[in-house]
Subunit: 466 residues, 2 copies
């Protein structure tokens, strides 16, 4: 039998795990420093919880789990037949009640409703777990991957938004990745549709704005025309399409447009609300020592179907890749499960893309791969008896160390240390035993130091400070 | 729609997560101190990797994943029909190519074979991941749960066994659980069948020995008779059935039995080999400062179908529950995938049962639930502006703190701190701002201390040392 794993899934060996844990631990420590608390939800959810939450396309990408026992004995397969073919959707619903988690947001909404009486609101939770999507695998896209989400639910305060921007800034500072943090507000997008009399064309407008950089102003205008926007509407949008300058300048241009200074002489209340939110947010951001660029970007339209306020997206500046973090505010995520009126805001780090950025820019810390500090070579049983108490005291003091288990050639034992990036080796022979010492050799410099066997504290000090 | 999760699965809220992470982190830190390195394998494996590895019963407990796209369009359902019923097994094989991980051992064997050219042998790996079993859920038995495994593969040295015993001892010392570590050897069990001329009755013999404590000597003898063992065989086994005393005494009794001092006058080479292994192991253990009881227990027969040497099992002494850790040596785990001759030995901690023991004995550390050190109350925007730089410096120094996001009644903000077990609160009003101070109140003692706003290092020192 050939050893293999399904397409789109991955094994992670020790060095990849060390690198991945470095990313997860960085994100986790920053989440915790802001008071976010960890939860975990099951990988397996009821299909009724998942279906219909991610659009038709999402429903198709759900992994479904065959019911246990004999799922076929409980149904008549003929009932699902029409014109010689089986109705795959209703047949699979009949034999599959459960599916795999597709993201962390829907299970979180379900969790909040189910545990609303135990939860302390505002509820700041983080969650770092695997999700599964039956997507076509390609470079950088997997069927099984981690998401790293933080959300606060039950608070409308913009302090949450500014703290999420601080968290993003802090995580990428710690990881040494330069980023641009882009911010939009769904209310402003809605206002654009409103002041151009095109409420039904919200998505067309944002899709067109998104293409500006790629295809240029004239092509975007043509596209808007093709989508049915009037010339008047397009000329109203023009200040937005050519929006530039500092965040303050952008806010001023948008304010004028929303305040009636447009070809339709319309004032948009929701637009002014969105602008006020952005203003307050940037005022708080300016007091927050943020190191990375934070900029208004009206072309951000991610999660348009559920975000209702702020929208975030983060781009790496020195490496070509899609968004590496994103999020936004949603007003009614838990409404689906019967709990209305809870507003929330959250972000999600894309660990796999962040991994690619760190790899591409060679920014993983150098000492990540050496998890063992010292290898004791295995010469004979007498040496092992001599070593056992020393090894035990070193481990108790927090020094990770190993005894090479087999009495192999010393060359092989050195190879083992080298391949595992173990920096120190100790070879105990009859001389060391009779002089009651422990020799420790630095495998990089070749320098060897001797310690009295009883002087464990010096050995510990030596190893922990290297 | 009702918010619910499938039977046998669980949500873990913040306090359960803190308790569970305490267990996982304890196990992980001990594994690492012995040079074990982490790997992760995908949740989804090819069914061909999983099927046939856990017996017929195990095959039935595998969660199978419905193929994506339209799995029914590729098959003729009629082909699977016989006598008006569908053949569930072959039909489900036709529409499911993949399943969920059932344990961590088979995926580890698959991993070793697949990555044999990248792996440094002897390979010491640990793995803490979820597994899934379509078992009937009951108290303490779940369909989705974590396993915490460590295995070393590619070494026959008994140093590995003794280190695993040390790891078990250390983990339960750190968790403050008193345990008995029971050790058996498969070779001795084989020898019992050999010296009683009952090679085909190995399992019957071990099952009977296992019942000794429950049903008594006479009932066990009757059971062995019913299973077809001769009176001679049973009298040969009698010294084993009544085995008692210290480990040395047990070894001596077994040695005599295996060395021909039995009613058949048979000598068992494999039995003597097993006894020698136990002797060496106990000699190493006696040099290892093990704090818990380690005892020979011939009734241990877990994993009899693949263990070939040492067998381990751990029982909690002060709490009634099944085995909380177990493992053993296997000689040919990777043979299934075409890589022969690799011997390995490993253990697995049962995190859910350990959780129940710690809960039942009230042994979780008391400070596990407070993850935030300090809550800044939210009075007005001026106070927030005053606070933002302080909060940011505290977080940079490793103090987890929060700003209450909304301007709610102060009573509600105090409630929030109390429910989240936050020990300190700071309320900044116009007085504090005009005197340029930060007040910090201990919510348990009610004592309040004042710090100059600029004297961040004193605030940090105060909070980190409380």
């Amino acid at each position: 039998m050939k050893a293999s794993i399904p397409k789109g899934t991955r094994d992670f060996g020790p060095s990849e795990m060390a690198e991945r844990n470095y990313i997860f631990e960085t994100i986790r420590s920053v989440y915790k420093s802001y008071g976010y608390q960890q939860i975990e939800t099951p990988a397996i959810e009821n299909l009724s919880t998942l279906l219909g939450k991610y659009g038709d396309e999402g429903d198709k990408l759900l992994f479904r789990i065959l019911n246990s026992g004999d799922p076929f004995s409980k149904i008549q397969l003929e009932d699902f037949k029409k014109d010689e073919a089986y109705n795959a959707e209703s047949l699979s619903r009949a034999i599959c009640d459960r599916g795999l988690r597709y993201d962390l947001t829907v299970p979180f909404a379900r969790f909040v409703v189910q545990h609303q009486n135990e939860i302390v609101f505002p509820f700041k939770r983080y969650q770092i777990q695997t999700v599964w999507r039956a997507d076509r695998p390609q470079k950088g896209r997997y069927r099984e991957f981690y998401q790293c989400d933080a959300d606060v639910i039950g608070s409308k305060s913009l302090i949450n938004e500014v703290e999420l921007v601080q968290i993003i800034d802090k995580v990428f500072n710690l990881l040494d990745i330069n980023v641009a943090i882009k911010i939009n507000n769904r209310k402003i997008l809605s206002a654009l549709a409103e002041i151009t009399d095109s409420k039904d064309k919200l998505i067309d407008i944002t899709v067109a704005i998104d293409k500006l950089e790629k295809i240029g102003l004239d092509a975007v205008k043509t596209e808007l025309q093709n989508k049915g926007l009037s010339n008047e509407a397009i000329s109203t949008l023009e200040p937005i399409l050519t929006l530039s300058g500092s965040n303050e300048e952008k806010l001023k241009t948008m304010y004028e447009l929303m305040n009636g200074n447009n070809s339709l002489n319309k004032t948009s209340d929701i637009g002014l609300e969105g602008i006020n939110e952005l203003k307050s947010l940037f005022s708080l951001i300016s007091q927050s020592n943020i190191r990375n660029t934070v900029e208004i970007d009206l072309s951000l339209a991610r999660g348009l179907n559920y975000y209702t306020g702020a929208i975030f997206e983060v781009k790496a500046l020195d490496f070509e890749i899609g968004s590496i973090c994103g999020g936004g505010r949603y007003d009614n995520l838990t409404g689906l499960y019967g709990l209305e009126g809870l507003s929330g805001v959250g972000i999600s780090f894309g660990a796999d893309r962040i991994y690619d950025v760190l790899k591409g820019l060679n920014k993983f810390p150098k000492d990540l791969h050496s998890s063992t500090s010292l290898l004791f070579a295995n010469i004979d049983d007498e040496a092992i008896s001599y070593l056992l108490p020393v090894v035990s005291e070193l481990r108790n003091a927090g020094v990770n160390c190993e005894i090479y288990p087999d009495k192999n050639k010393i060359k092989k034992q050195f190879d083992y240390a080298e391949k595992k990036s173990i920096p120190f080796i100790s070879i105990i022979g009859s001389n060391e035993i009779s002089s009651n010492i422990i020799n420790i050799k630095n495998l990089n410099s070749g320098i060897q130091e001797s310690f009295a066997k009883e002087d464990i504290s010096s050995i510990i000090h030596f190893l922990l400070n290297k």
